[in-house]
């Protein structure tokens, strides 16, 4: 195997294809490359973020359901930078405020607790899903952008044929190869983006469902506590 940088027009190396292409095709390819880089940056960021969050939520819930005293647990973990900890803190602070002046309307307190924790869950889910829309956009648009580059490149190739008065395939083949490279880059950017979008939106949904379950469980606990309170 020998390594060589072949930049001649007939070569299949990506760099050569990019360098010899029409200017519009070059711009399309550069944009798609940036989109691909951005996509992968988001993918890397997401996989570390989601994995870490899931693990920390596991630990938090385990600790929570084992805790004897919720107030003590709140003091210990109430300030954790964790979605589930923030939902927990929202419930606790609403509980404290509602029960500070004595219990008057139990139904009202239950509703307020549910609303507070529900909105906390929604906020966390929103935050988790941040940038997922970029993956969706790249996944759906990149192939079309690549196709545009290809169509443009092939158009200019054919214009070249007309100008050269020569129908030989060898005259147009390099131009068409360069144009097709735009579609290749478009797919190269779009395929990982679509896969990552599906995977991460699924991950975000699961975390959101866990937060909802946790909020429901905490709500029942508080609700039970409310019965005992007077």
């Amino acid at each position: 195997m020998h390594w060589s940088l072949d930049l001649s027009p007939g070569s299949t190396s990506p760099l050569a294809l990019l360098l010899h292409a029409d200017i519009v095709v070059q711009i399309v390819m550069a944009g798609l490359l940036i989109a691909s880089i951005w996509t992968w940056a988001i993918i890397i960021g997401f996989s570390t973020k989601l994995g870490g969050t899931r693990r920390k939520i596991d630990k938090f819930e385990k600790d929570f359901w084992k805790a004897e005293d919720i107030d003590a647990f709140y003091k210990l973990h109430g300030d954790d930078e964790l979605p589930v900890a923030r939902v927990f803190a929202a419930g606790v602070s609403e509980w404290r405020r509602s029960t500070a002046g004595g219990v008057v309307d139990r139904e009202g307190i239950r509703e307020r607790l549910a609303t507070a924790m529900g909105s906390a869950v929604a906020g966390e889910a929103d935050k988790l899903a941040d940038r997922l829309n970029i993956l969706a956009t790249v996944g759906s648009v990149a192939p079309f952008v690549g196709l545009f580059g290809t169509v443009w490149g092939i158009m200019s190739s054919f214009t070249g044929i007309a100008a050269a008065q020569n129908t030989s395939l060898a005259v147009v083949a390099p131009g068409i190869a360069e144009a097709l490279f735009a579609t290749a880059i478009g797919l190269f950017a779009a395929i990982p983006a679509v896969i990552a979008y599906n995977r991460f939106s699924h991950g975000v949904n699961r975390i959101e469902a866990r937060l909802v379950r946790f909020a429901d469980g905490f709500h029942t606990t508080l609700s039970r506590q409310l019965e005992a309170k007077r």
Binding site: W3, D6, I37, G45, A90, A120, S168
Partner: protein, 308 residues
């Protein structure tokens, strides 16, 4: 509404840390660069299929035609008669003997302008220059030579010959064929033509070989348009710039091996031949000293044949 205390229930969600994002972008950028470098450096995956090598031979018949005649010699010669000092160009002594005896005096005009100069310079006078000059007017050389010499005689010496002839020479329109013959002798004397390198058959073969090697990749890419097309041999004429690029589209100057079976592919073979040479320029490594010389590679003809 003074009694309501507004305080946030939800803790604010901190923004994602930027440094982590930048690390992710850096990683992703690095991965892309590595991937593209590897793809760019990898040898082309499909090794070129073993194609029969393209048949390039030197088309000497056309190649010889191509060279321009040596233009460097001609101007030197044409100037000389105009200036009026042809004496400088070395002439052999024998001229005088011939000139003097030859003649009666058919030309009265020549006599009046006798010049004093004669003695020293005239000696070198060559018979050749005077004789040929008048010649052009009347085609046959020998015939004219006789009248010319008489003119010289009356003028006492050869000096007069020079004078007498010069005026005539100015108006002359040399036929090119004639001129060639005349110029062959003086050209070595003037030494203006730098003829260090010449195009030999061997050199032409070498250049053809070099061009063939360089267009081989493009030739291998050509597809046979149909059965029998590989029998067509195309003579293609390249106009090459000094830097090895083609100065213009190659021109097809002839065909060989065209028969009824493959006649319809002739045009496509032409296109492929042109595409082959257009695609693999610039041609490198051709000897620069053989560019300008007669039959040099500024204008080079090759035979091309499809592989197979």
């Amino acid at each position: 509404m003074s009694g309501i205390a507004v305080s946030p229930i939800l803790r604010p969600i901190p923004r994602e840390r930027d440094d982590r994002l930048w690390i992710a972008i850096g990683l992703s950028l690095l991965a892309h660069i590595v991937l593209f470098t590897i793809l760019s450096l990898l040898p082309p995956s499909p090794p070129p299929p073993p194609v029969a090598p393209m048949d390039v031979t030197i088309a000497d018949d056309v190649g010889l035609k191509a060279g321009a005649p040596n233009t460097t010699v001609d101007p030197a010669e044409s100037k000389a008669p105009d200036i009026g000092n042809p004496e400088d160009s070395a002439p052999p002594a024998p001229a005088e003997e011939k000139a003097e005896p030859a003649p009666p005096k058919p030309q009265p005009e020549a006599a009046p302008p006798p010049k004093p100069a004669p003695v020293a310079k005239p000696e070198p006078k060559k018979p050749a220059p005077p004789a040929p000059k008048p010649a052009p007017k009347a085609q046959p050389k020998p015939a004219v030579a006789a009248p010319a010499k008489p003119a010289a005689k009356p003028g006492k010496g050869t000096g007069s010959t020079a004078n007498a002839i010069k005026p005539k020479a100015r108006g002359l329109n040399f036929g090119s064929d004639y001129f060639k013959g005349a110029s062959t002798k003086p050209s070595p004397a003037t030494g203006t033509a730098p003829k260090s390198a010449t195009m030999s058959q061997q050199a032409a073969m070498d250049i053809g070989q070099k061009i063939k090697q360089q267009v081989q990749p493009c030739a291998n890419r050509q597809v046979n348009p149909g059965p029998g097309a590989e029998r067509i041999r195309v003579t293609i004429r390249l106009k090459i710039n000094r830097d090895g690029t083609l100065a213009s589209r190659p021109v097809i100057v002839g065909h060989d091996g065209v028969d009824d079976d493959n006649r319809r592919y002739q045009r496509q073979v032409d296109d492929r031949a042109i595409a082959t040479f257009m695609g693999c320029q610039p041609l490198r490594g051709l000897p620069p000293e053989l560019y300008d010389v007669p039959n040099g590679w500024s204008d080079f003809s090759l035979r091309y044949k499809l592989p197979g």
